[in-house]
């Protein structure tokens, strides 16, 4: 992979160094000697150093502790003194238990639904906000919509239940008029819809800010030029607005893919009893009940490793696809 970097010419028009000493034809062939490139970029590297050190110290050093994935780890015994157990901590994943398969299926379904239905909402909302005529209205709306992000799941679930529960405001109203009630809570068929709408309610507004930041950079001249050309608003959206935030959308989508095995643990465990494990068990809750709750630290480390590997493979793969489609992705080719 490292060679890829070296052989890649800098994109035209965005040359890294117009005046690069001892680097003939910079931008075309940046293959200078290692030392030269180090000397050229050492100040740049120095700038990144503090951040990198923090990452190494707090993300990589403790990572050695993940050897407990292969141990019967007990905190009171210590990492070194806990006995090795080979891959037995991974059994929870690889034993083919139908309950595990069910949890995995649910996780993937929920992830898929969230990528299709939740991911685009903040984008649409950001575009809507961005197109508002009144800047003031836009700001007020924005400051309202991002608020639910700060509510804990306990409160969000309680509020939803209070509104839509079988004895919530809606159904009590229906019941008091002798109308049929709407079983939204405690209904396995509605579970996916319910948790999806909760996620949208809680985080769609918050999710807009990154797109709004991207939209703020759109060159007004492009709009003006296209307007002069007589482009309709839809065409402008398609040809000017969306391309300008496409990079960010693709980037976030790739990162989201890497997270496909993780769906809101707290949200789901709070509502798991409503519909039972068949409809609601996900990977994290399955692992929680089949290892973590019994104080089995090795199991959670093992599952963490597997999820990490899957995440890396998915992100690198998705990044490749993005490159094929001509996007920049997470890292340049």
């Amino acid at each position: 992979m490292a060679t890829e970097v070296e052989t890649t010419p800098a994109p035209a028009g965005r040359g890294h160094r117009p005046r690069r000493p001892r680097s003939p034809g910079a931008g075309r062939r940046p293959r200078a000697s290692r030392r030269t490139r180090f000397r050229r970029d050492r100040f740049l590297l120095l700038l990144g150093l503090p951040g990198l050190l923090v990452v190494l110290l707090f993300n990589y050093v403790p990572l050695f502790g993940n050897v407990i994935a292969f141990k019967d780890y007990q905190p009171y015994i210590g990492i070194w003194d806990s006995p090795w157990v080979g891959f037995s901590n991974f059994d929870v994943i690889f034993n083919g238990d139908p309950a595990f398969v069910n949890a995995l299926t649910n996780t993937l379904v929920i992830s898929f639904v969230q990528i299709v239905f939740v991911f685009p909402v903040p984008i649409a909302l950001a575009l809507l906000l961005n197109s508002m005529l009144s800047e003031r209205l836009k700001r007020v709306a924005q400051s309202i919509l991002y608020l639910p992000h700060f509510m804990s799941w306990v409160v969000v679930v309680a509020i939803f239940q209070h509104m839509l529960g079988n004895a919530g405001l809606l159904n009590n109203f229906l019941r008091s008029h002798d109308w049929a009630t709407l079983p939204i809570f405690g209904n396995p068929d509605m579970f996916l819809t319910l948790i999806t709408s909760q996620v949208i309610w809680k985080d769609a507004g918050w999710g807009t800010i990154i797109f709004l930041a991207a939209l703020s950079r759109v060159d007004m001249e492009l709009y003006e030029a296209s307007a002069v050309d007589g482009a309709s608003r839809m065409r402008q959206l398609w040809h000017v607005t969306l391309p300008s935030i496409r990079g960010v959308i693709v980037l976030l989508l790739i990162l989201k893919l890497g997270d496909v095995l993780t769906v809101g643990f707290e949200q789901i465990i709070l509502q798991r009893q409503q519909v039972g494990a068949d409809a609601s068990e996900v990977l994290d809750t399955y692992v929680y009940f089949n290892g973590v709750i019994g104080g089995n630290w090795g199991v959670s480390a093992a599952v963490g490793l597997i999820k990490g590997l899957v995440g890396v493979v998915l992100v690198l793969g998705a990044n490749k696809v993005a490159h094929l489609l001509g996007e920049r992705g997470v890292y340049s080719k």
Partner: protein, 312 residues
């Protein structure tokens, strides 16, 4: 079509050119109406539950009991719940701790993330890909709670505010997002600066940062919110309750046995869970400071930032 000339919505139109609404023709009334209604509905869906939260925090026990949890409008509004929380100075002290950690943490974090993101944003720079992948992988391989604790302890950070700041200071997600934004900055600008003899730091501070206010605001907000909401590190790393941040102190007001389905009926009966109004007041207290910050960051998301800065 092109006669829709509107004011510049940011400080007096630096570019001095006529603008249109978002650079686009003014849409017809029906479209505008539909948009307005859509936004109104979205806001209402958010506002109503929040109204219930605030109302419940102001309602008295009798009304909360009658309503069975949440009230939509307090009949006899009072500040008892807030008084109960804020009396004694424990919460106010924790509020100061949290503000301090959030400010210091956000400043340090933003500095480190910006520098790292910038150093990874120049095309073809030395070691870029290995460093980038090193950062990226932290998204997927997170250290366990206990190894993390041992590291923090080894560094002598137990009972130090640094233990609340350093471990979460550089987030891979933030670095990657910021880097992507930096990469969008037109290369000619940077080349031009270099020709003028600027070094990397000068390019960063004079060219890149002024063009990146929006993403700085976003990442700053992400950091601030993360520091503000964090409580778990304090549980593990801070024994001295004087140094506890607000969110952890507020958690001691919420007895939440049922959250993870642990059967504690026999032992939990000994403590009265706080009233619903107290819990809602806690939510409001933890929300207000961060809600106050938002409008100040918001102006950086206004339209036309980039072009204004480039031409200006």
């Amino acid at each position: 079509m092109t006669d829709t000339i509107i004011r510049d919505d940011r400080r007096g139109g630096r570019a001095g050119r006529p603008r249109m609404v978002g650079g686009t023709p003014r849409p017809g009334l029906p479209i505008r109406g539909l948009k307005g209604i859509a936004l109104l509905i979205a806001c209402a869906l958010v506002i109503l539950p929040f109204l219930a939260v605030v109302s419940t925090s102001l309602a008295d026990q009798q009304q909360v009991t009658e309503a069975g949890g949440y009230v939509l409008w307090p009949d006899r509004p009072n500040l008892d719940a807030y008084r109960a929380i804020l009396s004694g100075g424990v919460v106010t002290r924790a509020l100061l701790v949290s503000v301090g950690i959030t400010l210091a943490g956000t400043a340090l974090s933003l500095t480190c993330v910006t520098l790292l993101a910038y150093s990874l944003s120049r095309p073809g720079s030395y070691l870029q890909k290995p460093v980038l992948l090193t950062v990226l992988f932290t998204l997927f391989f997170t250290p366990g709670m206990i190894p993390m604790y041992l590291t923090v302890r080894q560094l002598g950070l137990i009972d130090s505010y640094w233990a609340l700041i350093l471990p979460t200071m550089v987030g891979a997600f933030q670095v990657i997002i910021m880097r992507a934004f930096f990469q969008e900055i037109p290369g000619e600008l940077i080349d031009a600066a270099r020709i003028d003899g600027a070094n990397e730091l000068q390019i960063l501070t004079r060219i890149v940062l002024p063009l990146s206010k929006a993403v700085m605001a976003v990442i700053g907000l992400f950091n601030a919110v993360a520091y503000w909401n964090a409580f778990f590190n304090a549980v593990l790393y801070i024994n001295d309750t004087e140094k506890w941040p607000l969110q952890l102190v507020l958690r001691t007001y919420v007895v939440d046995n049922a959250a993870l389905g642990v059967d504690t009926a026999d032992i939990a009966g000994t403590v009265m869970p706080p009233s619903q109004s107290l819990q809602m007041a806690i939510l409001v207290i933890s929300l207000v400071p961060i809600a106050l910050v938002y409008p100040f960051l918001q102006r950086h998301f206004a339209k036309g930032m980039l072009i204004g800065a480039v031409k200006g």
